[in-house]
Amino acid sequence: MHAPTTTRRFTLSLLATSCLATTGLLAMPRAAFAFDAPGWPAAAFSKKTEADAIAALYGQKLTASDKIRLEAPDIAENGAVVPVSVSTTLPNVTRISLMASHNPFTLAADYVLPAGTEPAVACRLKMAKTSDVIAIVESNGKIYGARKSVKVTLGGCGG
């Protein structure tokens, strides 16, 4: 995750974002119109790249781990409802986050698991286009990641 690719990724996703959203919306700082619930990691949710979101949320490098089972479809039936489930055998898991690399805002969901809650969660996410779903698990204070590519295409013949 060294600097050059970040800036390239940054510009690329910015391009994708601008074609998706009116620039007017983006010019407005996120917090301006949003009432932020207590504890809600606003900064992390406003980041547009995987690296920035991870940095904002955890502030440490991500190391891949094969102890995380990330289930997501190969081809999404509908990009608006992508069933994703994460489970792991890593010990003392306190947090699980889910990201979609090419979404306008990369961080999709962030779950806090107090002691006594099992390290597994299932939910349904929206994906802007074909990209990776990334699961990040915080175990004993360190973060581990797994990724899976999900193909997202338009549905039907859309005459």
Binding site: P73, E77, G79, V81, P83, T153, L154, G155, G159
Partner: protein, 287 residues
């Protein structure tokens, strides 16, 4: 260049038509035989898709594609139509101003009867779908009729379909010329190519069932009515068969008809009859 061939073909067809016309009455369309049609229709699907169990035809694309089925099963753990189901049940048990309720309008108090709809009403001489029956009940009890595409009517249909889960379709086409005509009209609509894309319902749901259309898998026509009403992620709410007909027509760039118009009710009548014996799987969740 190509167009001239088109016009030539049309001309040729015209001339041929004229010649054939002389004997055409002899080869007039055979008298409608719904049961023979149904047996042939179901035999086509059972032969071409041998792996599909009878109870699975109502699960559309998920009966023909493992990847899609896995996502569907995840969503069915807690399907988004639960809100419509709860709202439908509440409305179904609500008493009208005159003290009566929906249960008084339907046979068996409206429970477990969805598989008999649509039926042919010999008194009025037209096809009556579940949506029409619900609105007839409301109007008869001083309530105003509901929209046929979505909303409260779709919620009521969701509850009634849920009470019929597992019961096989049991549609009747009485030996009444008007019923047979309605059945034939639905059959003709199903097999006629329409719209600028020039597809018929059969082009996709018979000839290409199980194939992919960009992100979607085409549902087989057999049992395609069984899952309705459906919560489509695309709509983000519950929708009826009639709304889906409008959607499909638009997709082939054909001007759609009004929900519950005669042509759509006949189509639903034909398609439901084709699925006789296939169990109800509604309410359904679809992309």
């Amino acid at each position: 260049m190509f167009h001239s061939r088109l016009r030539a073909a049309a001309l040729l067809a015209g001339m041929l038509g004229a010649m054939v016309l002389a004997q055409a009455p002899a080869r007039a369309a055979p008298a409608p035989n719904p049961e023979a049609d149904r047996l042939a229709f179901q035999a086509y699907f059972r032969k071409n898709y041998p792996a599909v169990k009878n109870s699975d035809w109502g699960n559309g694309p998920y009966a023909l594609n493992a990847g899609m089925r896995k996502q569907w099963e995840a969503i069915m753990q807690f399907p988004p139509y639960e809100f419509a189901l709860a709202a439908g049940e509440k409305e179904f048990n609500r008493k009208f101003a005159n003290g009566r309720s929906y249960a008084d309008c339907f046979p068996n108090k409206g429970i477990g009867i969805r598989q008999n709809y649509p039926y042919f009403d010999t008194k009025t001489g037209e096809v009556v779908t579940l949506g029409i029956a619900i609105n007839r009940c409301r109007v008869a009890n001083g309530e105003k009729p509901l929209g046929y595409k979505k909303g409260l009517l779709a919620a009521i249909e969701t509850y009634m379909a849920h009470t019929s889960r597992g019961k096989p379709f049991d549609i009747k086409v009485p030996n009444d010329p008007r019923a047979l005509a309605a059945y034939e009209a639905g059959k003709k609509f199903f097999y006629s190519r329409r719209g600028q894309l020039n597809f018929s319902c059969a082009s996709c749901h018979v000839q290409k069932a199980g194939h992919r259309l960009r992100g979607d898998i085409l549902a087989p026509a057999l049992g395609i009515m069984a899952a309705f009403p459906i919560y489509r992620s695309k709509w983000g709410e519950m929708g009826t068969i009639q709304w889906r007909f409008v959607g499909c027509n638009k997709q082939v760039r054909s001007v759609p008809f009004k929900p519950q118009s005669k042509i759509y009710r006949d189509l639903e009548y034909f398609l439901s009859y084709m699925s006789n014996g296939v169990p109800i799987t509604g309410p359904g969740a679809r992309p």
